[in-house]
Amino acid sequence: MIRRAALSLVLLASVVACSRRQPPPAPQPPPTQTTTTMTPTRTAPDTAGEGMRRLEAERAATTREMRGVLEAMIFFDYDDSRIRADQEGALNAKAPILRANPSVALLVTGHADERGSGEYNLALGLRRANAVRDFLTALGVDASRITTDTMGEDRPLDTGTTEAAYARNRRAESAVSRGGDVITRPGR
């Protein structure tokens, strides 16, 4: 029915909006229903309940979309932790969302491709995560809301040994660690 259709739209939107596998959807609070007294000779549509459900669906869709922007991966050059020019757009898009949703916190984890020593790559991963954090704090996000971590070379996205595979692994992943149930669009 309508709720199922709305859910399908949400799922479609999240597939389109995001460049990677979504985390499992946050459990939705059950929509509140208001009862309306109806005379037996007339069937009135349950407008108030329907409206609530649509609002919930929109909020969930927006949350997923904003989450997608917050959790978009940032990629790096070999043996480098500087933010590339072609990655700035993705980072710039995160800042207003964070500013509009002060309860949201991020965990940024840095990764490296497998070349080079394991310990060196731990440090490189942390440096990459910190670079993302520093970029966002320079845009006005409070540093206390961003935690950084490293997985070095131990969690590759792609276990291949081609340059393309290595490039995918040189990344900083962001995960919403707090306040992710409802994220509003900035500027509203």
Binding site: G116, G118, E119, A123, L126, T147, T148, M151
Partner: protein, 458 residues
């Protein structure tokens, strides 16, 4: 296994000579690395098998007939002497194995220099091994000793025999052996970061402990009783010391990142990398020292970028470490307090050096270096910073060297002739053997001798 070893040795020698003549490494054997050597680095040309005495091990006897480990003890001692790479081993035939005659003239006619005989007898819950090294040329006993062995089922049976082999090596060559040792390393298994140990001869592979959280850089304490390592917990890292017998742990330091753990050879300090927060290039790892006596932590290095993976010289007076202060990875040598840092490795295009380890006799620093492609194990003269660097390996990708206490063997993570795993190379003969096979076996650390004091009696 011996035949395979010989074949590999021959391949390696052919590769060395060809590379030396060509002055540019070119594929001489099979899948040889085709990259040019970086400036100031040469493939080792001075591998020498000359001066290795011929040794025969006559099968050990039992003083009381019946089931006993004499054959097994003979095999372990013979294998230990072979793996020491210090001797040519004569296969002993049935006719020569007879214990009743000690015919020095017969052994002499076979060009044997040292003859090893032994006798195993029950003693308490275990055995007593009487071991003798004979000087065949002079026709007399050179040295003899008695060693206590536990029962065969004991977890320390092989270790006790290895201790006897180490004594034997000392009697004959005056040099320390490496048989009574283990190598600790990290293995990632599904989602578990495990710390493993394996005996130096590849036996007794076991998992010491592990965690779903990252564990890096395992380091044996010099007395073999403890291990220190870096462990992550909730995005923060700790320097942990673990008592191996009890499993009790304590946290010595905390920070955003900990790595590069190593003990001072006298056990008085633990060196480790600790992340120092900051902006841009000011942030990074710096080498720190934890003092065992006081628990105090001192920062030893300071520069932009990272200073990490420090190794103390055996006299405790200097450290070798990796620094990226120039933007490239280079090995530096400094005083133990971090002052007077000087670069050890030669500069050049697209070269990186990493993972320094000071040799137990203080004369060399081993590390891995990259030359436009693969990482290889290299050594530099510790007394001459900026001097020549020698490349030891040339096949596959090889990293993270760690010295055996005999000061001549090195274990490292490699992908050599027999696939991925841990390998051991002898820096004198160039001989390479697979220690244990496996993918992503990293950060090997070679223990000091684990023999209990008092095992050897002379």
């Amino acid at each position: 296994m011996r035949n395979g070893t010989r074949a590999r040795r021959a391949d390696f020698h052919a590769a060395l000579i060809a590379a030396g003549l060509a002055a540019v490494a070119s594929p001489a054997v099979g899948q040889q690395d085709t990259t040019r050597l970086p400036p100031g680095v040469e493939l080792e040309m001075r591998y020498s098998k000359a001066g290795r005495p011929l040794v025969a091990v006559r099968p050990f006897t039992v003083s009381i007939t019946g089931a006993g480990p004499a054959a097994r003890v003979t095999e372990i001692v013979s294998n230990d002497l072979t793996l020491s790479d210090r001797f040519e081993m004569l296969p002993v035939t049935e006719s020569l194995a007879a214990p009743d005659s000690l015919r020095y003239d017969v052994w002499n006619s076979l060009n044997v220099v040292y003859l090893i005989t032994g006798d195993v007898q029950p003693s308490g819950s275990g055995y007593q091994l009487l071991l003798t090294a004979h000087d065949v040329v002079y026709g007399r006993e050179k040295q003899s000793g008695t060693f206590q062995l536990p029962g065969e089922a004991s977890a320390d049976f092989r270790l006790a025999v290895h201790a006897a082999s180490d004594a034997l090596v000392k009697w004959i060559t005056g040099q320390p052996g490496m048989a009574a040792t283990r190598i600790a390393f990290q293995r990632v298994n599904n989602n578990s970061f495990d710390i493993m140990t394996v005996d130096y001869d590849g036996e007794n592979l076991r998992r010491l402990f592990g965690s779903p959280d990252m564990i890096y850089s395992p380091a044996w304490s010099p007395d073999g009783q403890r291990m220190a390592y870096a462990q992550k917990s909730n995005s923060q890292w700790q320097l942990v010391e673990r008592e191996l017998a009890s499993g009790r742990t304590r946290v010595l330091a905390r920070g955003d990142l900990v790595s590069g753990v190593s003990y001072a050879p006298d056990g008085s300090r633990i060196l480790f990398d600790l992340w120092v927060p900051g902006r841009g290039v000011a942030q990074g790892l710096e080498v720190h020292a934890w003092e065992a006596a006081s628990g105090r932590i001192t920062k030893l290095t300071e520069s932009t970028q990272d200073n990490m993976l420090a190794s103390l010289s055996p006299d405790g007076r200097r450290i070798a470490f990796l620094s990226t202060r120039t933007g490239r990875q280079h090995i530096y040598v400094a005083d133990a307090d971090g002052s007077n840092a000087r670069v050890l490795t030669p500069f050049g295009e697209r070269v990186q050096y990493n993972g320094p380890e000071w040799s137990p006799n203080g004369s060399k620093i081993a590390f891995h270096g990259q030359s436009q492609g693969t990482f290889q194990i290299m050594v530099a003269d510790a007394t001459r910073p900026g001097g020549q660097v020698t490349q030891l390996t040339s096949r596959g990708e090889n990293q993270d060297p760690s010295w055996a206490p005999d000061g001549r063997h090195i274990v490292y993570t490699g992908a050599g002739a027999e696939g991925e795993g841990l390998y051991v190379i002898d820096t004198t003969t160039g001989n390479i053997r697979l220690l244990t096979r496996g993918r992503r076996l990293r950060f090997p650390d070679w223990s000091m001798s684990l023999a209990t004091p008092g095992v050897a009696s002379q």
